[in-house]
Symmetry: C2
Subunit: 554 residues, 2 copies
Amino acid sequence: MNDLSPTSTVGDSVYESGLDKRRANFMPLTPLSFLPRAAHILPDKPAVVHGPLRYTYAQFYERCRRQASALKKHGIRAGDTVSIMAPNIPAMLESFYGTPMAGAVLNALNIRLDAAGIAFCLNHGGAKLLFTDTEFYPVIEKALPLVDHDIIVIDIDDPVATGDRKRLGKIEYEAFLAEGDPDEDWRLPEDEWEAINLLYTSGTTGDPKGVVYHHRGAYLNSFGNALFFGLNQDSRYLWTLPMFHCSGWCFTWAVTAQLGTHVCLRKVDPALIFPLIAEHRVTHMCGAPIVLNALVHAPDDIKPKLDYWVKIATGGAAPPSIVIERMEAMGFEVTHLYGSTEVYGPAVGCVVKDEWQGLPVTERAGYMARQGVQFACLEGLMVANPETLEPVTRDGKTIGEVMMRGNIVMKGYLKNPAATERTLSGGWYHSGDLAVCHPDGYIEIKDRSKDIIISGGENISSLEVEETLYKHPSIMECAVVAWPDQKWGEVPCAFVTLNPSAPDVTEDEIIAWSKENMARYKVPKKVVFGPLPKTSTGKIQKFVLRSQAKDDAR
Amino acid sequence: MNDLSPTSTVGDSVYESGLDKRRANFMPLTPLSFLPRAAHILPDKPAVVHGPLRYTYAQFYERCRRQASALKKHGIRAGDTVSIMAPNIPAMLESFYGTPMAGAVLNALNIRLDAAGIAFCLNHGGAKLLFTDTEFYPVIEKALPLVDHDIIVIDIDDPVATGDRKRLGKIEYEAFLAEGDPDEDWRLPEDEWEAINLLYTSGTTGDPKGVVYHHRGAYLNSFGNALFFGLNQDSRYLWTLPMFHCSGWCFTWAVTAQLGTHVCLRKVDPALIFPLIAEHRVTHMCGAPIVLNALVHAPDDIKPKLDYWVKIATGGAAPPSIVIERMEAMGFEVTHLYGSTEVYGPAVGCVVKDEWQGLPVTERAGYMARQGVQFACLEGLMVANPETLEPVTRDGKTIGEVMMRGNIVMKGYLKNPAATERTLSGGWYHSGDLAVCHPDGYIEIKDRSKDIIISGGENISSLEVEETLYKHPSIMECAVVAWPDQKWGEVPCAFVTLNPSAPDVTEDEIIAWSKENMARYKVPKKVVFGPLPKTSTGKIQKFVLRSQAKDDAR
């Protein structure tokens, strides 16, 4: 399994004699170390804001130590799995510290999963304990009977929650914390390669895979994100990105490393987001394009007048130029990032070049739509032939697979050596995303392998067709998938959600408009109107649409 | 030697099975990786500015690859030492990449050393090759005959140099580079624990000690400094801090990691510095207090009117309030850092708290004079009893030794196991600096162990007396050392440089003023006027003054 076997060429050097690692100069890298440091430096600073609640860094650290201690009192040991089903609330954030402080591995569950999906994760991960927000009782109540082993259930009864709630466990989170020792002498990892998090990928087909994060990568990508997104002591980070999504792109730790403030959020709703931005003078936030879309299309009367720039990072799909333009008009500076669960969230970002700054937004958006270049903490990025591992020509046309390597690549998939081997083979992480490399070295995703449409032998990038459709003033959201066709094999089919405030259009009008705006063979032969199915992280579920297209075409 | 021997408690966990390190997810951390990345992303951006010279990132990277290749052609092998004697010019910066790209260890020499000192370093480090700026021929010409082994000498004939010059080697640096392959397939370290730099500490007594840096620490403190000092893509970093000083506090690599621009400088001279700041809109610079002093006392007509804030980091001694005040008036925002050669430069910084912002500068300076708190990449910092390793009470009074631990502590001292053992014993790096810990956890250096004055059984911090003397309007610089005294054992003696633009004062006047401004037993009994002896890094050489005081007192 291990393909690292260097033969040292410096073994006899004077630099290798009497200069071994020792406790003074070598300690495991872990993002857990950021919290005691922050609590030491700024104990009274607001670390976590949630509705009317405020936790200072001293309190935040104390609560995490209590969690670690209470977990141990409930029998959790190093190497055990602890799951959590919660939105972006303090208990969730605390678990990213408290659980690994007990030596356990935190498994943050996707809150959009159904009972079977939740049960699969709890069983596969062997969760010994589950923290669960009482608002999620309908799904958890159904999932628990499906769990094949003993599991301790701790309810989180968030005072900020407003929906229907029900307790399923025997202890509430605050009572659980109260059992814990605030001075817990918590455990640093013995090795930075130890697991810190387990995250199940939503996976479009088959069972979800459990991505295992190591402390080393979590530490490094916390720095990577802080450096790329420009966090500092004055940063106030609004939690619009789910923490269960790639550990919140490591911002769960990065904000703490830079002594910023976490602003919690139960629900991605513009009616909640805009007032929080204004109240806390939020400086940074992240989210899938759906979040930006929601902000752009929110009623004008809830949009605050911002007298400063809010930085917003997005990923998962390129932000269309119209979204960039409208976000900028509202006072948001958009950053485009790219990554995946397997690389701790974003590992690639679109570094904006000076020469783009003066360009019209449509042209600038073309550059910014590209996923870009590797973070300083990612050692390798290429678009390559997945068979030969030869990088493709930098022509912006030749399609290959995105490959990454380095210290922010996962340990592997839990209890799935075959998938681990396949995905990390040849010394590279195979992302499954298809892309081109432009002459300037920036990569641009063209599609997921399975999202490419092959029509009359020509590859059609569904993303490219979508990017064009987004320019239509009446289209708010769209997704293009293959429609089975007797003559061409496949043809593009567009699923479209119309902008409620724009004039209605017909299928024929969209097809006619497309003929004027893209190559003939790329024009959708079919347009279906309605809301689009999405994952909890806002990604459009193309596999649902693809299967719908197949059924409809019959 | 190795005191790391953990017994894994997670060895049988599912998280340790089939999830080993492999080439896709584990690579040695090294700051060398920052350069190819920068050259890939922004090949045409100015990376290095030097007088009329401009090197883009593509050119900078090519020159470093050429250096690595040429070194190998001249017989340099992995684990060899390459020394350089140069000011902050492109060849110097290139060596921080090119030399380790050949697997060799860069030994940047202190340009203020005399021939015997240089020869000691070349002999002790076993340098196989020396790059030397032709302006330093007087000292190098004398040093070379003292070298006890064969050494290749490459002259750097910097076109920006203006002084008397002479070539000592057979090849000039540019011709040497021309021999190298611009596409050199350079060597990544096989292990991040490999040595990257060798730096001799100036050492106040005895032979200099050779501090060995590893790639891991250099990488991490590059991030540490970039995060603490707020570097980004728009940073233009002026090289007022010698690169031979702790590898330029790792800014040699940090600026590249953040895609900024390096602005070179042959000599710390306000007449050069101010025009460069204005021309390049410099954003960041570092320097010993002497540099700030020089800027403050420069003639007003060479000071530009800055319409933005320049960030300047200083360390080695606390910036006096008057210096902070005057620097701010000129448009500089002062950051106070602390560290030592053994911890890759700054590892501790004075994080400014929000509540200090509104305070009058004299009060604020009191807080900012404190060395502060650990960087995010330093795992441990304490002020402790050096015998028991017990942290001192946080009372701002009890003196202990500053101790640090973590991944930015050196490998150890080259060929000096006794000193390594002593300095890194008990799991901590013993800095030799004496400090207190304030109730808020910020540390404040009171003295080097040997700089404490013991008068009638009372410890007097020479730094504290100096800090008070700096408030005297006529005093530009001062240093306080022990003066042997029959009655008290030792009494404070002040060596003082007067401000040329302020009214003259006499010894009696300073003593009288001191009596009104400090405790009686701390008042200097003797005042000596004149320039102060300094190390190349601007630190006042107290050992010289101490020996002078001893001689004078006889």
